[in-house]
């Protein structure tokens, strides 16, 4: 049984992360999103309320899915469609996820971790747990099937339609009926163990009735068993069967045959071992099914969590009145957006930040310069976040966003505390550039934020010019925010068609609008303005 909610024809296990996803998460500040996605938020009488405790699994699932890039538009639209269905039917995704979580929790309690340890299966206490797990799977699949049946016709997305169909068909009523019969036949084994009692739980002690055919194997031991009857019967109550059992047909023949009544505890011990073996065999028959179910629920728990997490973000964004849209995929040379916002900060502050609008077509290199505290880094981050969200099939925080797909996506952000001049730091920075170079692929995008600022502006400019030139010539898309004006000026002077320049807007009066406008890099970053503001009257 397949889940296939994240990919058209594969499950989640075994996907490849971005090469340096840790840096991406740090540099783009994605933790805020993971944290926010772990909590439900709903509006109650006009007030926004966070109504649940954090479910860390949601944040983790979001982290894991966001740090693995999709590679084709088809894959991206596949998720987008499913997500739209989930947003339209919030109740469905809530129930789907809650169901999967419930299975996992109960399964953990029944010793999920122990399940595959060698030797554990030999223990009868474990066998009891295994029977319970089978029961849990059957009950859970039954609930899931009901959920799917009631929503199936309302979905638009291929992914959810297929999912529902798969569940309904794989876990047919006939199959369910059969599993329940088997579970009832072996209740003698786990009788008295509460939690799951089928058939109303009459509380009576069940005893096994087993008829088998066997050979006398090598060394005179019972061997080559075949089962003819396995039932649980209570002393007072006998299950009525439509057809006659084998025993009943043979009853007269057996009447005069050798019979032993077991009283000795050693013999009774042996008898229960025999019964255990029968149950173990039956569980072995269903092991492939159980393994399949186990994989299915594990995948479902992960995959549903992603959509559930996105749903939380979606509700939160709506509450904050953030504009959201599903991005479009275009070819790698284009990058267009309207009112693009830095989503992580918006979620963190629950406020609507300044949006930027830009159309950077047919460009391989974007250089952003301009005023300190003018929003350059925020701008670069907003693109980075949107790019990562696009590449995992999520919505973005913008009125419109179009970009290519860059599975080889890198961020190289020099954080303020790093920018002290120090040759050790430069070493480290270049080492990281070297790492990036080693892992570039055919569709690569690199975000450089204040890179090479750990040395003098002169040296830094030379390094930046060399590195950026080589990258761009090799077909890598580079978006960079820089203070290195000699570098920016030099590139600007060449007037190459594949390069775009933006700079942080600063009004005549020194006021920053946090908007990026096309423009020539200027020789000062207007740090003086800032100085004047911070230290007025000096």
């Amino acid at each position: 049984m397949n889940v296939h909610l994240l990919y058209t024809s594969r499950e989640w296990k075994g996907v490849n992360e971005y090469f340096d996803s840790k840096s991406i998460v740090n540099d783009l500040g994605l933790e805020n999103l993971f944290r926010a996605a772990s909590r439900d938020q709903e509006r109650e009488e006009g007030n926004i309320q966070t109504i649940t405790d954090a479910d860390e699994h949601l944040g983790n699932a979001l982290r894991r899915v966001m740090t693995v890039p999709l590679r084709t538009p088809e894959e991206i639209y596949y998720r987008q469609d499913i997500m739209q269905d989930c947003f339209a039917h919030g109740q469905f995704i809530k129930e789907l996820y809650a169901g999967a979580r419930d299975v996992m929790t109960r399964w953990e309690k029944l010793g999920k971790k122990e399940m595959n340890k060698p030797g554990v299966r030999e223990k009868s206490i474990h066998l009891v747990a295994e029977v319970k797990v089978l029961r849990l799977f059957v009950d859970s699949l039954s609930d899931l099937k009901k959920l799917c049946q009631s929503y199936q016709d309302r979905f638009q997305s291929r992914g959810l339609k297929q999912f529902c169909q798969e569940v309904v068909e794989s876990f047919s009523d006939q199959w369910e009926e059969k599993l329940r019969t088997v579970l009832e036949d072996i209740t003698f084994f786990s009788a008295g163990e509460e939690e799951y009692t089928l058939g109303g739980g009459d509380g009576k002690v069940r005893q096994a009735k087993i008829v088998l055919d066997c050979r006398v194997g090598s060394g005179v031991k019972l061997d080559d068993l075949r089962l003819d009857v396995v039932e649980s019967v209570s002393k007072k109550y006998k299950r009525v069967k439509e057809k006659k059992t084998v025993m009943e047909r043979f009853a007269t023949t057996f009447a005069a045959e050798p019979t032993v009544i077991l009283k000795d505890p050693i013999l009774l011990e042996d008898l229960s071992q025999l019964e255990g073996q029968v149950v173990k065999f039956i569980m072995n028959v269903y092991r492939p099914f159980m393994n399949d179910c186990g994989d299915f629920f594990e995948e479902l728990y992960m995959q549903a969590a992603f959509y559930r997490a996105c749903f939380n973000l979606y509700v939160r964004s709506q509450n904050t009145k953030l504009e959201m849209c599903f991005p479009k995929v275009c070819d790698g040379d284009c990058l267009r957006f309207t009112d693009l916002m830095e989503y992580s900060m918006a979620i963190f502050r629950s406020s609507v930040p300044v949006g930027n609008t830009s159309g950077i077509d047919h460009k391989r290199l974007l250089i952003v310069t301009g005023a300190n505290q003018g929003g350059k880094s925020t701008f670069l981050r907003s693109i980075g976040i949107a790019q990562v969200m696009l590449q995992c099939g999520m919505f973005v925080c913008a009125a419109r966003f179009e970009s290519g797909i860059f599975p080889d996506f890198f961020t190289h952000f020099t954080r303020r505390e790093d920018s002290a001049m120090n040759s050790g730091r430069l070493d480290e920075e270049l080492k990281r550039i070297d790492q990036i170079v080693r892992h570039l692929g055919e569709s690569s995008m690199v975000l450089l934020n204040e890179s090479f600022a750990t040395t003098t502006e002169e040296e830094g400019s030379v390094i930046a010019y060399d590195v950026v030139r080589a990258l761009v010539e090799a077909g890598v898309k580079v978006l960079t925010v820089t203070h290195l004006l000699s570098f920016a000026k030099k590139v600007y002077a060449q007037k190459r068609p594949e390069v775009a320049f933006l700079s942080a807007e600063r009004k005549e009066n020194g006021v920053r609008t946090f908007k990026m406008i096309p423009g020539e890099p200027e020789l000062t970053s207007f740090g003086l303005d800032l100085y004047d503001r911070m230290i007025p009257g000096s």
């Binding site: 008829v211 006398v216 005179v220 089962l227 084998v246 032993v260 077991l262 065999f281 692929g441």
Partner: protein, 513 residues
Amino acid sequence: MEFISILEPEGQDEELAAARRHMPDFFLDLNIDQIFKMIQDQAPGYDISQLYYRFPESKEEEIYRREIYRDIKKPEVFDCLDAFGQRMRRMAKALANRPQVESSLQKSAWHASAAYEYCKAVEDLRRGLAGLDLQSRGLKLLRDYLNQYIKQPDYGKLKDEAFHLQSEIEKFHLIIQIENNKVTVTQGTLPGEYDRFLGSEEMAHPSPFASTLKMSPLEETVFSAFRKKYPKVLDEIEKFIKNYPDFGEARIFRLEKELQYYLAFYRFRNRMEDWGILLTEPETDESREMEAEDLYDLALACANFTQNKPVVPNDFVYHENERFFVVNGPNQGGKTTFARSLGQLVYFTKMGFDVPAKRANVHYFTDLLTHFSVEESMETGQGKLMEELSRLAPMMKKETNSAFVIINELFTTAAHYDGCVMGARVLDHFIGAGCRGIYVTHLKELGDSIEKVTSMTAMLDGSEDHRRTFKILRNKAEDVGYAEDIVKKYDLTYEKLSERLKAFSENTADSRK
């Protein structure tokens, strides 16, 4: 001629057979120990080391084995012998179970089942061999011997009784009903209705009391209740061990063990073939020159396979009158590997097996002698020289006529001149004793002056950084500076980076194709 053994046509005196042999010195030098380990892995449950530690006694015996191995390489012959081995292992297992049970019924049951496996093994082997086209003297002798053996009256009686009992046991089915701690048992079969319901007709049920060979109390109770009313079959089982307390023929038991010598190698050979490592049967034509094409170090090929690296093969030929190769060349250039591959060639040829080469013609040698310098030895100067000589002396004293001799880096610590003189003497000695071989050395002059000695060199590719080609060619040793490979540090200058990225964009262009 009568059949005795598939390894030794003449048999062997008992003292020699009983002596436990040590691993020959050349096993470690030639890394044959590593190869042998893999061959031994193909014969689980048997210790075949004793068979591999000893060369055939004579040229005759070598041919005797080669013929047998050639037959065994035919799949139908292999399968027939392999099946025999499996049966015999089942017999051994049944015999091993016998002392572990207590009741005389069970003891006799295991004994009967061992007897059945033994007879079945013999019968199947005899019938199998009768229908096969055999070329080797050894297997033909075995076939004739088996035809005689089964006519012995003792064997015939044993076989009839063991087969009869086996079929009785196979037909014997019980039906057991369990309800309310009441167990009823009778003879008969049922259709397995619940298994049909589960869809598990094809799945084997584990025996319920398999944790011990002994009958469990429940089994005992059930069987004794049953036996009271239906004694026939169980009584028959219990009588068997009294009627046939002993069975089996020593020659058959010996055959089983010796067969593993061939079967393990053939399985190993197939495994190598799966890995793309080919072994071929050597020719042994003394009238032609000894030579090989694409000879390689089998141990290295296996080690490299796991790391996905190929091995570099080499060709060689000993022209008439050439007795020794003296090999020079850079460190890590493949000299020792070449020497090892020659040794492996001689070893596997002598054992009658396939060799690691595309094609080879190998002469007969009485023995294989090796002398490798012990690198780990902390000794230097006098001490090391002493150590080397003390290992060399017995080699030179030994009846070394017509042996194959491999010497690797002798006298490294002696003065240059002394080393050359001593080396030349060693070569003289072995050439005088009609030996052939290979001498790996740093001493470039060594190959010069002696008759019947040919110089060879491990080649470099002529590039600036002296890349090794691992090719060993006939060549006069030259003085070449073997500078260390330049350690390349990555750089992020525009030129270096462009170069790196160019390689990368070409790669991606390739991968797009």
